[in-house]
Amino acid sequence: MKEVINLNIEKSYILKHKIIPVFKDLKLSFESGKFYAIMGHSGCGKSTLINIMGLLDNEFKGEYFLNEKNVSKLSNKELANLRNKEIGFIFQEFLLDKYLKAYENVIFPMLVNKDILPKERKKRALELLNMLGLEDRVNHFPKELSGGEQQRVAIARALANNPNIILADEPTGDLDEENETKIFNILKELSKKGKCVIVVSHSNEVKKYADIVYKLQDGKIME
């Protein structure tokens, strides 16, 4: 187990000249090989937290170490590079490119990763899709896939550059129970293989799979 994320941050928004605090002295750490769930009521800042952890929001006070690197001092280009190699994102609405086939969607993050050679891309994409039980769906477009299949393609895409961290924002929000179970099982397997899996979810089902559940309330974490 290795610490991959260490946060000690403060975050607030300015709205109509008023300062609205989101987090105050928020201290969190995440390790590889574990499945974390972050829960809380709507508007408590779950998505804000995941955006900061995913290096999509750089406007905060404090320090954020990702793989022992202080990311608050990095340029936008360095942050983009780090996102590409270290973090895989999964979203509620799947967000696959409807004009690309399943394997082409998986290849997409690899296009800006110079460490993966062009001739290796398709092979890697097919391996990932096979691993997720989609060997018969590699040439299908998103509209030809079920919700569960689309989310599995999104997971394969998140794994394209073999990141250490998987950030999932409500990954089962648009799925039925059966598919929800499948997706959580996949994420659990990934954590067992050494990934740091962080899931933001409203669903209580996630507690069955999570090693650690964080509750976000009033800008603070309750474990």
């Binding site: 590409n84 490119d97 690309l100 082409e104 800006v112």
Partner: protein
């Protein structure tokens, strides 16, 4: 990111996104309209340029004698002779005569006054000298009946005329008790065709032959004079250069002669046409610009989440812009290619099927490459500008806002 990858994935998306047909149609119509209008302007400009150098009628004037010259034709012509820049003049009645052919009275040949100053500049064969008689210079493709203008198989090869010559049979009319009647006699003559010319070079009809001054005078005086009144003499005058026409006209007018241009370019009409073309071009450019912005905006709005994902996965603003730009340029190039094919096909169709109906030289109805380049440039530049402007807006948004379509 490799250019190959950008190109490959852009091509894939262009091919698979059926909505791109709208942008393709906008750009195609815009390209055709702009190129078409520019080509037409170029055609008019070339036509004028050609006419100014080749059409003798633009260097020709007519002058009617003042009343005091009645019965004094020689003095009238002497006055004209002394005017600077006048190179040729003769009785206007000798300028152009139509005569029925001896083998068929329904078919005609038109004769024009043939001297070194009036003959076409390019003649295959011999020219007519001032002492010649019984000779003619005729078109390389002769049509003996201009009424059947659209029947293309009525052309006679000029080489046949060189062999056989051309013969006329004109009924001579006479005035009896003020009435014009057939005298019972015919003016018959055969002309040996000694040279051939291209009537498209001189803006002549396909049945116009040039004969010597003495021959046309003889024909008029014998067969046609009776049909004309004894009006004041009118001279047909040829000026040495286009730039001197107005001066000569003024000089003749100052002498009290009623002067008129033989050939005039209607610049008002031409300016009107040019203005219409300019308006079409401007409207097309503005139209393409607005429609392209609206289309790209719509596409980008549909694509916001995708852009957000790309940013989330480490794509820079430059990478994202390169993809959208590449897609647009592919569509632009396809539009350019198709419009080029369509325009070239039109030219081919005109040349192949309507060649004999169009009384213009190839170099006038040929297309201007500048028209193409300008049309193509607009089709390339407009998407680049509109995409760049819109991307300035999207570049500022972070990935999460794009994913949430804010």
């Amino acid at each position: 990111m490799r250019f190959k990858d950008i190109l490959y994935y852009s091509l894939l998306k262009v091919k698979r996104n059926k909505k791109n047909i709208f942008l393709f149609i906008i750009l195609l119509i815009g390209c055709l309209t702009i190129t078409g209008a520019l080509t037409y302007k170029s055609f008019i400009s070339k036509n004028i340029e050609y006419m100014l150098t080749k059409d003798l009628s633009l260097r020709s004037l007519g002058a009617m004698a003042a009343i005091e010259y009645e019965g004094r034709e020689k003095d009238f012509y002497n006055e004209i002779k002394n005017v600077e820049h006048v190179v040729e003049f003769y009785n206007k009645s000798y300028y152009f005569l139509s005569a029925p052919l001896s083998n068929d009275e329904n078919k005609t040949v038109s004769f024009k006054y043939g001297t070194p100053n009036t003959l076409p500049k390019k003649i295959i064969g011999k020219i007519i000298n001032s002492n010649d008689t019984g000779v003619a210079v005729c078109p390389v493709k002769f049509k003996d009946n201009v009424k059947d203008y659209y029947e293309t198989d009525n052309f006679i090869d000029g080489k046949e005329l060189l062999k056989n010559g051309i013969s006329i049979n004109v009924p001579i009319k006479e005035k009896i008790d003020g009435k014009l009647t057939f005298s019972g006699k015919y003016y018959q003559k055969k002309y040996n065709v000694i040279g051939l010319y291209d009537p498209l070079e001189t803006y002549d009809n396909y049945n116009t032959c040039y004969i010597s001054a003495s021959d046309i005078e003889d024909l008029y005086e014998t067969a046609y004079k009776a049909g004309n009144g004894n009006d004041l003499p009118i001279a047909h005058i040829i000026v040495d250069d286009l730039k001197n026409v107005d001066n000569v006209m003024q000089t003749l007018t100052d002498k009290g002669f009623s002067t008129f241009y033989q050939g005039v370019i209607n610049y008002d009409h031409i300016n009107e046409v040019n203005q219409i073309c300019n308006i079409i071009i401007i409207i097309s450019c503005i139209g393409i610009f607005i429609l392209t912005i609206l289309y790209i905006k719509k596409i980008n709005n549909d694509n916001l989440q995708n852009m957000g994902i790309q940013k989330a996965y480490g794509y820079s603003n430059g990478n994202i812009q390169n993809f959208s730009m590449c897609e647009l340029l592919i569509i632009s190039f396809i539009s350019i290619f198709i419009s080029f094919i369509l325009i070239e096909s039109c030219y081919l169709i005109i040349r192949i099927f309507f060649e004999d109906y169009i009384n213009l030289k190839d170099e006038i109805i040929t297309h201007s490459m500048l028209s193409y380049w300008f049309g193509f440039l607009i089709i390339l530049v407009v998407p680049i500008i509109t995409n760049s402007l819109l991307n300035l807006f999207y570049n500022k948004k972070n990935a999460i806002n794009l994913i949430r379509k804010k």
